[in-house]
Amino acid sequence: MHIHFVDPYQTGQSPVHRLNPRAKLVLALGFILVTAAMPLGAWPVYVLLFSLTIATAVLAELRLGFLLRRSALALPFVLAAVTVIFTTPGTAWLKLPLGSWAISVTGAGVVRFLSIAIKSWLSVQAAILLAATTPFPDLLVAMRAVKIPRLLVAIFGLMWRYLFVLADEALRLLRAREARSAKLPTSPLTPPPQGRGMPLPWQGRGWGLGSLLWRGQVAGGMVGNLFLRSLERGERIYAAMAARGYDGEVRTLDTLQT
């Protein structure tokens, strides 16, 4: 879960880092667009695109392992596309009997599936390269430069600034809950903790509706708590903004970090 809270930015001074953030944003989007427009099964093109991402990673002085590992994380969604292997019409490679039906794995289906997976993987790499070589404040500048409404960009900026602060608060709430709760076994296969009377899942109490509702209530209480604190913090931030002259208009002096 902590992958969320690792800043994707990798500090550096490479030519890619120093490239104008608006250019990088446009290039990344352009790459993803081009990748999406490429036909299925265009393996040579995919290889070419991959060489582009690798080249960029090298130019950016990023560890290749970093790029490949992070890009693999986005792939579980691929399972959503798995069925095309079976449903795309074409010459069958093999048939799997399922009762009175038979589903077939078609060549066309495998091509389609692999193309989707590869194109997705390439696109994720482009997104990672963008985030890894561009500090987020510069991404905000880039967004304003491509005419995303200033108000929206300002909201993004504030969200980013307080992401870590609130994540810390959430973690504290989680730890407080853990400190106060007896651990229930997490699966029917793990033995219950030592001691008396710990309900096993199939004995009802641990997983019954009442217990579920209670746990939902505890979680909901944490969310509610976090929400109220966030609301109050929002008011305090507004007071601080007003104290320095904020009038509702978003004004910025765009300066880049790299």
Partner: protein
């Protein structure tokens, strides 16, 4: 010659009816450094929010001769630099530069002037190297200094600080005290840190239950054990 701050008979109730301020009156002269002490709930923070118009009560508040009204708010807020207790609330921009530049930018100053003031403010708090940093990675002490810089860049007439030394380790606290001693601005410092008041402020106000109960030279107030005890304070 105007008083920097002039408060006359200020009263304020919270929406639920509790009285937060009850007939508060005092003046602050240019160049004074004044401590504001009192128990929790005395109304110190509430009072501070009245000084730049975020809260409005009954009675009068004048800043550099200007009464606090809708049309004066911009100038008032440029004149009164309020530094909040939680530095995280005050550093709301992505980078340190953005935060320090915010004030001058919203004063309508041209970009060059904004950049110049930002550099000056950061230098005044000895944080010039932090200009490109991202706020959330800084330590509490660093954040407090940057927070002060965010109001210094507006070149206020008076700095109003709420619990500046709260949460600082001894070294950071020492640095802060030195900073407050060196800065030339008029100051009003609300704090529980009576030793800080002794070192920085020549005059002290004691507040309790929404009223000013004592107003005099720091040396007299802080060494009046009976007075302090009456209002839930201890001698430093």
């Amino acid at each position: 010659m105007h008083h920097t701050i002039e408060v006359q008979n200020l009263s304020f109730q919270y929406p639920d009816g509790t009285a937060a301020l009850r007939g508060v009156s005092f003046v602050i002269q240019p160049g004074e450094k004044v401590g504001l002490v009192g128990p929790n709930g005395a109304g110190k923070s509430t009072l501070m929010l009245h000084l730049n118009g975020i809260l409005r009560g009954q009675g009068q508040v004048k800043v550099c001769g200007l009464p606090i009204e809708e049309q004066n708010l911009g100038r008032v807020r440029a004149a009164v630099g309020l530094v909040f207790q939680d530095a995280d609330d005050q550093l709301f921009c992505p980078t340190v530069f953005d935060d320090v530049a915010f004030g001058p930018l919203y004063m309508g100053l041209p970009p060059d002037e904004v950049r110049r003031r930002t550099a000056e403010a950061l230098a005044a708090v000895a944080m010039s190297g932090y200009v490109k940093r991202v706020s959330h990675h800084l330590s509490v002490g660093e954040k407090k200094r940057i927070a002060i810089a965010t109001v210094l860049s507006m070149q206020p007439e008076i700095l109003v600080l709420d619990e500046p030394s709260a949460g600082l380790d001894p070294r950071a606290r020492r640095g802060l005290i030195r900073l407050l001693q060196e800065l030339p601005q008029t100051m009003l410092i609300a704090t529980h840190d009576l030793r800080l008041v002794a070192e920085v402020a020549s005059r002290t106000l004691v507040m309790d239950a929404g009223q000013i109960v004592a107003d005099g030279p720091t040396a007299e107030i802080l060494y009046n054990a009976a007075l302090l005890a009456r209002h839930g304070l201890e001698m430093p």
